[in-house]
Amino acid sequence: EKWAATRAKYPPTTLALRHFDSTYSTQLGKLWPSIRVALLSERKYGALLNNFSFDDIPEDYEAQGCRDFIRDTDTEAQPRLQQESEFVAERESDCVSVQNADADSLQLPPLQLSRNVKCLVFPRGDITRFKPAKPDKSGLLSYYLMDAASVLPCLALNVEDGHNVLDLCAAPGGKTLALLQTHSLGFLCVNDASVSRTMRLKRVLRSYIPKDLLTDEKLRITSFDGTMWGEVETNVFNRVLVDVPCTTDRHSLLEDDNNIFNKSRVGERRRLPQLQTELLLAGILAACPGGEILYSTCTLCRSQNHSVVEQAIQLAQENHGIQLQVVDLRPLTHMFRKTFHFAPDLPLGEMVVPHLAANFGPIYMCKLRRLT
């Protein structure tokens, strides 16, 4: 009887759905039913190809219509970007905020996407699944299955040769792997507060990356509380990825285990925006002046997305005198609109929204540049 009394009347997945129904129907309006059905149906994966593996792209995937979405971009996008890239340098220097630039006057900055990152996806509407990757002759796996939209924050971070990079909340390591595929990193710091998840991250790295790239000169793996990073190391990183813990909307709707909508975790859930703001602020402090920070989540929730970014920008200014510029990611979304559905008219940042025919995301991302 004791058991019956303590058992929750509604499972966490049901509570999550109710919560989303009430908040997202107002935040997303007409889009919500279409996102809802996608969230409640089987998601799509992408296969992040491992350049370090000896095995080639599995041929049968290409025969089945798979394509690397990073190269399979919108055809109109390229010429326009090239034409306008000259203006961009000027514009960037004198324009601090591009937040409200309207689409017509928008001059798209050049995209420097790493050529080495490749991610296969099945075409729109195709529900074929990838098989689990097999190890090659050296024991490395040839691809990593992840939400293809999760590759976007890594691309948006725009890592260049020799950059020092911090991945503040890195486990289980999908985005870390994508960053490592660029071959450009000078030094990479990988951190995650959870020790057990950090162990998992280490296993992932060992299954994909050759040993000589995992040496102390190239890589450091830690398990700190990311909010304290500023006390350890400030103004050093060229690029910082802040992929924060969030309500993980898809997981919360489908799995009762480890669900943040569990009654016992109400406090933790309420504190998320606070934690996220602190993590982003720590990431901002860790970046060097001129460095870039990418904030990302896998929730649709405003209070965990652009509200957090706004808050962090303000705190950085007020408490640390740091000026930030929001970097326009529209060139990126324009380029990949064939593969993903992006939410229209976000006040700040960009968001991949799930759709049955392209069931990736949700992924929110916002890029900041430190001016001082």
């Binding site: 279409s34 809802r36 409640l40 049955l356 025919a357």
Partner: protein
């Protein structure tokens, strides 16, 4: 009806030379045109196995007596040649049984013409289906007649499928018998019903009523979900795109297939 038609009929039973019975001549006597008669002879001779030719004349006659005209009979023959395997006495018994179940003249002919397979169903099976509908699903006698008239295919449906379909709509969708009838539920396969319902449910547009029969949103009527074309359902009821529903159907099919496989493997464990 022509009384003369009774004669060839009776002779068929006694005679062991069916081929001579089914002739263009005798068909013309029944009222078929020359071309129709030729078509029938051709079709009947193509029916494989059994004793189609033997019963052909008696079946044709019975159908005429029922009141079907030559062209309906011809269509029926194309739709369901199995009817020609049925002995005349059984055929008559089955027709009488349908009358007893409340199919009045007019309806009876329409049902037979629309779904001739109903004449291949033994009286006993039909009785079981009717009992099932009355006792397990609590339809009234009149409602059962309506079901037979509107959706005669129920009589050949797998009974456990039928039961699951009823329960799904009754419990999961919270729909009562009268509404099921209005929507002609039994014309649709379980998968069609489930797929449309799940699509709405996952879009947040359909809720299972609680114990008191209440919902927080207004569910669309079953009639407006089922009794429309798929295109209308998708755009006007679900307010979605055809692309979304196409993908959804594929996903559901896989989901159900895998659920079944899982059940099977549990059963055999």
């Amino acid at each position: 009806l022509h009384p003369a038609q009774q004669n060839p009929n009776e002779r068929t039973h006694q005679s062991r030379e069916p081929v001579t019975e089914l002739s263009i001549h005798s068909l013309r006597d029944l009222g078929f045109t020359e071309t129709q008669a030729e078509q029938i002879c051709g079709s009947v001779s193509k029916i494989r196995g059994g004793n189609a030719t033997k019963h052909a004349m008696s079946t044709l006659t019975a159908l005429f007596i029922l009141g079907l005209n030559a062209s309906s009979v011809l269509k029926l023959l194309e739709k369901c040649p199995e009817v020609f395997h049925v002995k005349e006495s059984l055929l008559q018994q089955r027709i009488d049984n349908l009358r007893k179940l409340g199919l009045v003249e007019g309806s009876l002919q329409r049902v037979v013409a629309y779904y001739p397979q109903i004449l291949t169903v033994p009286v006993k099976r039909l009785r079981n289906v009717v009992m099932f509908l009355r006792e397990k699903c609590l339809f009234t006698g009149k409602q059962v007649t309506d079901i037979l008239r509107e959706s005669p295919a129920v009589v050949l449906e797998n009974m456990s499928q039928l039961e699951y379909k009823f329960q799904y709509v009754y419990f999961r969708m919270g729909v009562k018998q009268a509404e099921m009838l209005k929507s002609r539920l039994f014309r649709f396969t379980l998968d069609e019903v489930r797929c449309r319902h799940c699509f709405l449910e996952r879009r947040g547009m359909y809720e299972t009523p609680d114990k008191k029969g209440q919902t927080t949103i207004i569910n669309p009527k079953l009639e407006s979900i089922l009794n429309v074309s798929e295109g209308t359902f998708v755009t006007d009821v679900a307010m979605a795109s055809a692309e979304e529903y196409d993908v959804f159907k594929k996903l559901m099919e896989r989901e159900w297939r895998e659920e079944e496989q899982q059940m099977d493997s549990i059963d055999t464990d």
